[in-house]
């Protein structure tokens, strides 16, 4: 190192080292890049804050980079955008579907009611679709349109509207609103501090929410709640915060306000006339009514089914308990109850059984075959029917046997005894208490003719009357003897011949004998067996009674021989 160099080092050593260091950093790309990286974020921030040149400068290269990247690696960008596009698409579809569903729901709900029919007519008169008309009438409020208007020039920054709203030129509407507001402010607010916030137009209400650089004007159908204004203010504040300078300096270029309509779409709110819970309650009411009706119907059908089942079981039970019935099946066919089985003809009819059980007999159908039941009661009835007992005899059932007490014809008694002997009745029949009606009659007849006398005029001559009476009596006695024979009894006939005291005893005895013989002969001639006849004579020998002509007679006496059925009952 020479003196000059040494002097330079002494004088400019520090500067030289700094210069060398700078030179080295400038010459090394890595170092330069590191330096730029240190200041680049701050430089971009400053440049962006001071003007739009940076944006304009970067627009072209960044755009080109994006285009190239998208073209070369579409999948990569699709993957990156997927989380954004999904919600965006869903939001858009949801918004459209919500409006559509609301319209459909309201339309269906109102379509069949009387009010719905009236509204349909009104909608036809008004020339609007029924669905839209229903929505208009059932909404508490709905924000139909929202305008974001520059306060500086009245230009429309953004505009959204409900699908069903009919809108005019939104730019013209925006300007006109601004003009009207200017007019009102100039005309009615001396210090120009007033501002139009609300206007009512028939079924529409117009709300203006004022921000520092823009105002949000909403056209609302119906009566909005107070809280809506706060919500709209929040939306306007959010727009001011997001767009800042763009909204302050808006001069008609919508590109500076890209995306503002998505923010405005938040304004398009609506609320139905009835609160949600009330709607739920109302919507549940028909369901509850229908459910109750269904339950009541099911209960009614269940009760009817149970009642029919009970009716069937009751009929089956009472039939099975009824003597002379064998029930194979009881079936309900439609409204009819069909009974299949066997029935003894002597058993109660199905109508009788049902009626006794309190069941209706209208719908009974019997599909029965006859049979002979061995039920004791039916056997008893059958025996009773077979006995065919006369009314003079009473029949009782006692300990498995039939006891007949009273009287009956001998023919019946004989026939019944034969049947009992042959076992034709199937059960024991006691006939000991039955007396023959024929024998009784015979006894009565005999009693009536027990002693009859016939007077002679003299000798063996009868008066005409007595002669005739004797002939009749002989005939009767003959029949009585014959009847007694038929009934197994023995009727004896005693003939007593008498004579008065006039004359000798021998003569009178002979006369009495001839008188008795006369009667005896007549009886024999009428068929009375001589075995049944006995003759005796009575001759009065006392002359003091000579004038008693009553002794000129013959008497015929009837007397049963033992044993006789009537003997026990004979009072004598």
């Amino acid at each position: 190192m020479n003196d000059l160099e040494e002097l330079k080092t002494l004088l400019f050593g520090a500067e030289k080292r700094a210069l060398d260091s700078i030179t080295e950093r400038v010459q090394k790309p890595e170092t330069r890049a590191a330096d730029v990286a240190d200041v680049l974020p701050e430089a971009i921030r400053l440049s962006h804050r001071e003007g739009g040149e940076l944006v304009e400068t970067l627009r072209e290269p960044v755009g080109e980079c994006l285009r190239d990247s998208c073209r070369n690696e579409p999948e990569r960008y699709a993957d990156a955008l997927y989380p954004v596009m999904g919600p965006a698409i869903r939001k858009s579809i949801l918004s459209a579907l919500r409006a559509f569903a609301q319209q459909i729901n309201e339309t269906i709900e109102q379509s069949l009611t009387p009010r719905g029919i009236r509204w349909r007519f009104d909608a036809w008169r008004a020339g609007v679709p029924f669905g839209e008309y229903v929505v208009q009438r059932t909404l508490l409020y709905r924000v139909e349109q929202a305008y974001l208007i520059s306060r500086d020039n009245g230009l429309l920054i953004g505009h959204v509207h409900h699908q069903a709203s009919r809108i005019k030129d939104s730019d013209a509407v925006s300007a006109m609103f601004t003009a009207i507001q200017d007019f009102i402010k100039e005309s009615f607010s001396p210090d120009r501090s007033g501002r139009l916030e609300t206007a009512d137009m028939g079924e529409f209400t117009l709300w203006a929410v004022h921000g520092p650089h823009a105002l949000l004007v909403c056209v609302i159908r119906g009566v909005p709640p107070r809280s809506l204004r706060g919500d709209l203010s929040a939306i306007l504040e959010r727009i001011h915060f997001r767009y800042g300078d763009g909204i302050r300096d808006y001069s008609g270029d919508t590109s500076t306000m890209a995306g503002v309509e998505e923010e405005l779409a938040e304004c398009l709110r609506f609320e139905a006339i009835q609160a949600a819970d009330e709607k739920k309650r109302r919507s549940f009411l028909p369901l509850v009514v229908v459910t109750l009706l269904i339950v009541a119907l099911m209960a009614w059908f269940g009760y009817r089914n149970w009642e029919a089942r009970q009716e069937l079981l009751t009929l089956q039970d009472v039939l099975e308990d009824t003597p002379g019935w064998y029930v194979a099946d009881v079936e309900r066919t439609g409204k009819a109850l069909t009974v299949r089985g066997l029935r003894d003809p002597l058993a109660a009819s199905i109508e009788e059984v049902a009626s006794d059980a309190g069941l209706s007999t209208d719908r009974l159908v019997a599909d029965l075959q006859p049979f002979q039941s061995l039920d004791p009661e039916i056997v008893y009835q059958r025996t009773l029917a077979a006995l065919d007992a006369p009314s003079s005899a009473s029949v009782t059932y006692d300990a498995g046997r039939i006891v007949v007490i009273g009287s009956a014809s001998q023919v019946w008694i004989d026939a019944t005894e034969q049947k009992v002997a042959s076992g034709a009745f199937g059960m024991s029949v006691e006939l000991d208490g039955v007396s023959s009606i024929d024998l009784e009659q015979l006894r009565a007849d005999v009693a009536a003719a027990r002693e009859v006398q016939f007077a002679f005029t003299e000798g063996t001559e009868l008066s005409d009357a007595d002669a005739s009476a004797l002939r009749d009596h002989v005939t009767k006695v003959s029949s009585l003897v014959s009847e007694a024979d038929r009934l197994g009894a023995t009727l004896n006939v005693s003939i007593i011949g008498e004579a008065d005291a006039i004359g000798t005893v021998e003569l009178n005895t002979d006369l009495a004998a001839r008188r008795a013989s006369l009667a005896e002969q007549m009886l024999i001639e009428q068929g009375v067996s001589a075995e049944r006849l006995s003759t005796s004579l009575i001759v009065d020998g006392d002359l003091a009674n000579a004038t008693n002509l009553e002794r000129r007679r013959v008497s015929i006496l009837l007397e049963f021989d033992s044993p006789s059925p009537a003997t026990d009952a004979d009072p004598e």
Binding site: S150, D169, A175, A179, D182, F183, E186, G252
Partner: protein, 174 residues
């Protein structure tokens, strides 16, 4: 596609044909009753610019006056340009335009504008000579002799105004 819009005020004296001039070329939305009730009526007109750009002019048809008062000034606020209209058959309406322009300049500064000398279909009744027109062309940058009846030059004037506004407010479209 980006959209552009601009507020344009139509200024002029009574009965110079402001409303009639633009009426055939705009999207009418509001009744002229607004002119007499609140003093302004709004129409819009889409103007095609070079580069396949459309600019929507929001036309504020301010009620005719020869001098602005309070509310008219309010209507001018935020305007991007003016359409000044005078009646060729009444030379004093040019003076009214001049006054109105000065007032607006004083309040809101220099803005793009076109001057429509209207009622070209009544030239025989004109009070404005060719010399007057030449002087007007020097005084006002864009003077168009128009006819509300025939529509002559109206579209051209509106197109020119649109271009001037676009150049000033939306340079990136140029």
């Amino acid at each position: 596609m980006n959209q552009f819009s601009a507020k344009v005020c139509i200024l002029g004296d009574f009965a110079v044909g402001k409303t009639s001039t633009v009426e055939r070329f705009v999207n009418n939305q509001f009744s002229e009753k607004y002119l007499t009730t609140i003093g302004v009526k709004i129409d819009t007109k889409d103007v095609s610019l070079s580069g396949d750009v459309t600019l929507k002019l929001v036309l504020w048809d301010v009620a005719g006056t020869d001098r602005f008062s309070g509310v008219e000034f309010a209507y001018l606020r935020g305007a991007s340009g003016y359409i000044l209209v005078a009646d060729g058959t009444r030379s004093r309406t040019i003076s009214a335009v001049r006054t109105l322009k000065e007032q607006s300049f004083d309040r809101y500064g220099e803005l793009p504008s076109v001057f429509l000398l209207n009622k070209a279909d009544l030239t025989r009744e004109w009070e404005v000579s060719d010399e007057d027109q030449r002087r007007l062309s020097e005084e006002f940058a864009n003077v168009y002799v128009t006819s509300a009846k025939t529509g002559d030059n109206v579209t051209a004037a509106l197109g020119r105004l649109g271009e001037m506004i676009a150049e000033r407010d939306f340079p990136k479209t140029q």
